[in-house]
């Protein structure tokens, strides 16, 4: 039986975050305590008096899931229970890379025994699809709408994996729900390593990205296969693995399935910039 009971979840059909969160908790097992940031996952899983969580789970605020987890970890250490109980902090991309970045950096620097999972759906979906620091270049969000003077989000994704790796923590990795076995292996590996760990999981959002719920897994695969979302691992600050894509797919195949990129399809110049992003990833990570 899953430790995430979907019966008490109000997630949208095809929600990638729900799929990923369920995998993470089930691999972690029942001796786990989760600290969850404010966001979609928190809202759809904890509506009073119900809860989807079959492990002890705490939600405090938006930016502090890493700090709350740090308190849980310190308390377990004090009680002599840290060997037996795993601590996971989790948040969306905004709660991780924007408002939660300071607390996350503090948790890394303290060397605490915590796995931090970022469910990256590339925007503030819970509040109505506003851009975050992990929103890709040229994306149409409600705060970066395309128009006469704009083609959407003006900046590329914040390089969170490199930022985390620069802390020289034991393990940093990216995964996608499009590659379930790889995701599961990385969760297992992360939980087997002592110290702070960071896992960023690509999770499509049908509502915010404007695609059919049946396309979630396909899009989650294509993001990786085009080179736009590299699946990599860093250990102690060094790149140690990257999932190879010997024949990268054209980015249009990925973009055309999503309403958030629809405005780009006839814009050759901007399409070229996206293609260049993929190429740069392929080169720098050796995909």
């Amino acid at each position: 039986m899953s430790l995430f009971d979907s019966k008490f979840s109000t997630a949208c059909p095809g929600c990638g975050q729900e799929i990923a969160a369920k995998i993470v908790v089930d691999i972690a097992g029942k001796n786990t305590i989760i600290s969850n940031a404010t966001g979609c996952l928190e809202v759809f899983s904890s509506k009073y008096p119900d809860s989807a969580w079959k492990v002890p789970w705490v939600h405090s605020l938006f930016e502090n899931s890493a700090a709350v987890a740090s308190g849980v970890e310190a308390a377990l250490k004090h009680l002599g229970k840290l060997k037996d109980i795993k601590v996971i902090a989790q948040a969306g991309d905004g709660g991780t890379a924007d408002i939660g970045l300071q607390a996350l950096s503090g948790m890394f620097e303290r060397g605490q025994e915590i796995l931090f999972c970022c469910y990256d759906n590339e925007a503030y979906e819970n509040t109505g699809v506003q851009r975050s620091g992990l929103t890709p270049l040229n994306t149409n969000t409600t705060t970066t709408p395309p128009g006469k003077e704009s083609v959407g989000n003006t900046r590329p994704k914040k390089p969170m994996l490199e930022i985390c790796a620069a802390h020289k923590i034991p393990y940093v990795a990216s995964a996608s729900i499009g590659f379930i076995k790889d995701l599961k292996d990385k969760v297992k590996k992360a939980l087997s390593i002592r110290g702070p760990k960071y896992l960023q999981i690509f999770v499509p959002c049908p509502l915010g990205w404007r695609h059919g719920p049946e396309l979630t897994m396909k899009i989650a695969k294509l993001a990786v296969e085009t080179g736009l979302y590299p699946l990599v691992e860093f250990e102690n600050g060094k790149l140690t693995s990257a999932m190879k894509i010997p024949q990268p797919k054209p980015v249009e195949e990925y973009l055309k399935l999503q309403g958030r990129f629809k405005h780009l399809l006839k814009n050759k110049q901007e399409l070229q910039r996206i293609e260049e992003t993929a190429k740069a990833n392929i080169e720098s990570f050796g995909l």
Partner: protein, 393 residues
Amino acid sequence: MKRFLEGSRGVAEAIRLCKPGVISAYPITPQTHIVEDLAQFVADGELKTEFVNVESEHSAASVVLGALATGVRAFTATSSQGLLLMGEVIYNIAGMRLPLVLTCANRAVSAPISIWNDHQDSLAMRDTGWIQLYAENNQEALDFHIQAYKLAENKEIMLPVMVCMDGYILTHGYEPVDIPEQKKVDQFLPPYNTSYKLDPSHPITMGHLAEPSCYMETRVDIQNALNRALEMIPQIAKEFGTVFERNSGGLVESYRLEDAQYVLVAKGSLAGTIKEVVDNLRKKGKKVGMLRIITYRPLPVEAIYQALKNIPNVGIVEKAISLGAFGPLFTEIKAIFQNKKGNPKISGFVAGLGGRDITRETVERIFSKIEKRQMDLEFIDVKQERLNEFVRF
């Protein structure tokens, strides 16, 4: 054992005796000496606690929140901007019913930046559901922390307590204080034990999403718990007196009120100065007295009413201002007397903002003001000539 100690050290000694499992704090003047002393206790093996150094007060408050959610007693201390930065978590801790004890080394708030004492920081947190106690001297500061844990962790209360002590005046002032024996503290304060915690053998969800159908009751429940605290605080003070053979704590302190005609109301260390002035004026035949608010939240409405109902002239002296309105305590004490028998003339005075000294002479002047007429708001010892310039920073 009596020792001549800095106020901050006294608080650190109290916390050592209360044995929190997790301490987390971020440096801010004038709170720093408290956590420095605690860090040294941990370094010397005198206190078995996880001391978590963090990158902000927001995280300090979040770390102790997480520790309490895991069922472990915790402590933090802060001041001024630090308390304001914690603000979001301050509400959260009360809403989640976690019995944190926090020292607020009271300090003014920016801008302009000022490291000196007033009560604007803790007053900004008065509506959060926290219990607030104000110490007059270093012995009280020490004692209140021990009482605070007992109060916060009471199953009928389960709310955080902020022990407020005047920055510099108390935190950096040396006074003889009695440090209780560990044995007696253990007798008074049992270990923190709760079933409301993150525990894999009994998994619970904490921090639910509340729809309109259930949010309001959470606030009523805190209000009810705070009302119970009004009964509990004097009981705890009494028990403290029995175990430690010293009077400390409670809701209010009446000082020479029996036949008083003119009474000042104050919180914190200012009460010490007022007591001296009262004694001097009494020698000159003036019928003066003082009421000290020890517990500010919950507001001890009945105790204040009983203490002041037969006093013809009352002046509230406070180190805080609700800008655009009045002193907060003034407004509240006025409200207590609305539609009640006995109706003292109540005046409001705001003094000592940003560390401006409130001397005995200042207090004497305030006494003479309430002899003359009632006023809702007067700022004390303001340099009028400064107001002709642009007072902008």
